[in-house]
């Protein structure tokens, strides 16, 4: 579906994407995980065939976006990071009009709009103005709009950014159902839980490059341990107390020293906690959890995903 080799994007002197290789196969949910400014959205815009590439090769649905942009766009669904709904039109008109841009006959668009409203649970709101919808509803409407041309490939740029937890779960459920139905999804996100929930395979992007690639499980297995012990020692006034503590427990596993806590990577988190106590250290809070993509990112880049 998507084939990129050495793909680059520059804006003047600034290089947003510095040569990445990506393969997305039919029917999979593929993710670009990375912090803001990693080059995810620039990559997405090139894939959406609205932004010309600055270097390398890119093939979408077997076509070159430079020469077949309109044809490719006709077969893509795009859910942009910022809502581009027409606020002054009602929910139904937004979908209907968008379908017409793809040259779909009026009768056909009308029946698809009914289906889509049902799918994103907005049938009751069909006549409401977009302005009056909640953030989650707008997002669902944007997703419905991106499906109006029955796309081969659905691009979702930060689909749940800015939504409350409940709205995120509703959206994830809908995306998951699309995935089950065999729609190829490409998702960018800086939420590791979103990537874990939705993506079959993902690349971790940082500073315009791909830092790692694989399924969420593979990435965690490759780059992290099964468990993580999080140790909090409270607010410290003087010196590098975290550094001093780290020296004492450095042999218990790989450490990440963060401003507010120390992470110890180990197959057995409880054992780490026990040993920490044995050595006379008294953390004010401890937590043992499974490794996540956040830990993978931390190891690969030395930074957290959400600053």
């Amino acid at each position: 579906m998507i084939l990129a080799r050495g793909l680059r994007k520059s804006f003047g002197d600034f290089e947003a994407v510095k040569g990445i290789d990506v393969d997305v196969r039919r029917g999979e949910a593929f993710g670009f995980l990375g912090p803001n400014g990693a080059g995810k959205s620039s990559t997405m815009r090139m894939i959406a065939s609205v932004s010309p590439i600055s270097g390398g090769e890119l093939t979408i649905l077997g076509m070159d976006p430079a020469t077949h942009g309109p044809t490719i766009r006709g077969r893509l669904g795009v859910c942009p990071q910022e809502d581009t709904l027409d606020n002054e039109l009602n929910v139904r008109d937004n979908l209907f009009i968008y379908g017409r841009y793809f040259g779909i006959p009026r009768g056909e668009v009308n029946s698809r709009v009914d289906e889509l409203l049902e799918f994103v649970q907005l049938t009751d709101k069909a006549r409401s103005r977009v302005e009056d919808l909640s953030g989650g509803m707008k997002r669902r409407l944007t997703i419905a709009r991106s499906l109006v041309n029955r796309p081969d490939l659905l691009l979702l740029d930060e689909p749940t950014t800015g939504l409350d937890p409940q709205a995120r779960h509703v959206l994830w459920d809908q995306l998951f159902r699309l995935k089950q139905a065999g729609v190829t999804l490409v998702i960018t996100t800086h939420y590791m839980d979103e990537a874990e929930q939705l993506c079959d395979r993902l690349v971790v992007m940082d500073k315009g490059l791909i830092a790692a690639e694989g399924s969420p499980r593979q990435l965690i297995e490759e780059h992290s341990t099964r468990e993580v012990a999080e140790l909090r020692f409270g607010i410290v006034d003087e010196g590098n107390i975290h550094e001093q503590i780290a020296e004492k427990i450095g042999d218990l596993g790989r450490l990440e020293v963060l401003p507010d806590r120390i992470l110890v990577y180990s197959p057995d988190g409880e054992e780490v906690i026990a040993k920490v106590h044995e050595r006379g250290l008294e953390p004010i809070a401890v937590l043992v959890r499974r490794s996540t993509l956040e830990d993978v990112f931390l190891k690969l880049t030395g930074r957290t995903l959400v600053d």
């Binding site: 579906m1 804006f11 039919r26 815009r45 959406a48 609205v50 932004s51 010309p52 649905l61 077997g62 076509m63 020469t67 077949h68 942009g69 309109p70 044809t71 766009r73 006709g74 893509l76 795009v78 942009p80 910022e82 581009t84 709904l85 027409d86 606020n87 002054e88 039109l89 008109d93 209907f96 009009i97 968008y98 017409r100 841009y101 793809f102 040259g103 009026r106 289906e115 889509l116 049902e118 799918f119 649970q121 499906l147 041309n149 029955r150 796309p151 081969d152 459920d173 809908q174 159902r177 699309l178 089950q180 139905a181 065999g182 729609v183 190829t184």
Partner: protein, 286 residues
């Protein structure tokens, strides 16, 4: 509420990815514009009521105030009014062109900024098979439609005032009003897709629309401006539109001059169109 256990109501397409069978060129201009007809029709249905005030009542008030009431005080030899038998007959053809100018600029300033910056409708459209030239073209077709309805109604309403000297002249003058409107619409759209802030529009209205309306022969003959200003006024597309509209309405057509008038307006429109389409493409394709 949809039952969560049922499969999604939107089945995926199942046809295999094939090599392209369509022309790389994309949609024709007419096809691309045609696909946006329903959008602009919806916009029109939503805004036409407000448009009645600005596009019909306000010009009518102008005609009554300036043409009928103020004009009642003006008694001039027709030779000094470019052949008009009354001030009303003199002012009407120019007033409709000035009206066209106002609509053209109004529809290509804030609405264009809205498409790019506030509602972002242009961006949504650019994610579909539509290209910048289709988006600009459809917007301009809507402006043409607005011009046609507003100027058309205006001309029909004015007919009983006895200000037209032939039956065919006003029909051609109507075409000239549309052409003049489009000359400004395309050029102003070219500006609107290039500026980042709506503050630029204040300058367009105050230093563009206002002087063009007042000093391009709509309200008084440009010969009253003095030799230097008269030459400047005659260089503006607005004067060409006003002059041609008036010659046609008053049946005083000087055909070589008319040819120059049409050529200037057509050239400005053609330039404006390419400039606007190119500007929008540069803005949307980053």
């Amino acid at each position: 509420m949809a039952d969560p256990t049922t499969p999604p109501t939107t089945p995926p397409t199942t046809e295999p990815t094939t090599s392209p069978t369509t022309e790389p060129r994309g949609l024709s201009l007419a096809e691309g514009i045609g696909r946006q007809r329903d959008y602009w029709w919806t916009v029109f249905k939503r805004t036409w009521r407000g448009g009645i005030i600005s596009s019909f009542f306000s010009p009518l008030f102008y005609v009554l105030a300036m043409g009928v009431l103020l004009g009642g005080f003006i008694e001039v030899d027709p030779s000094r009014l470019e052949g008009a038998t009354s001030y009303l007959a003199f002012i009407v053809p120019g007033l409709v062109v000035a009206h066209a100018l106002g609509i053209a600029v109004g529809e290509t300033t804030y609405p264009v900024m809205g498409g790019l910056k506030w509602h972002k409708t242009y961006w949504a459209q650019a994610a579909t098979p539509l290209e910048a030239r289709h988006i600009a073209g459809a917007h301009l077709m809507f402006v043409l439609f607005r011009l046609a309805t507003a100027c058309g109604v205006f001309m029909v309403v004015l007919a009983p005032f006895g200000v037209f000297e032939s039956w065919w002249g006003p029909i051609l003058a109507f075409g000239v009003q549309l052409l003049t409107g489009m000359a400004f619409a395309t050029v102003v759209m070219g500006i609107a897709v290039r500026v980042r802030s709506e503050e630029a529009f204040g300058v367009i209205f105050r230093l563009g629309v206002m002087p063009l309306t007042l000093f391009s022969g709509a309200f008084f003959p440009v010969s009253n401006l003095g030799p230097v200003m008269e030459v400047l006024a005659r260089l503006t597309p607005m004067w060409h539109g006003v002059n041609l509209s008036r010659m046609l309405c008053l049946d005083t057509v000087d055909w070589p001059v008319a040819l120059v008038n049409v050529s200037v307006l057509a050239a400005v429109t053609a330039f404006g169109w390419f400039w606007a389409a190119r500007g929008l493409e540069r803005r949307l394709v980053l």
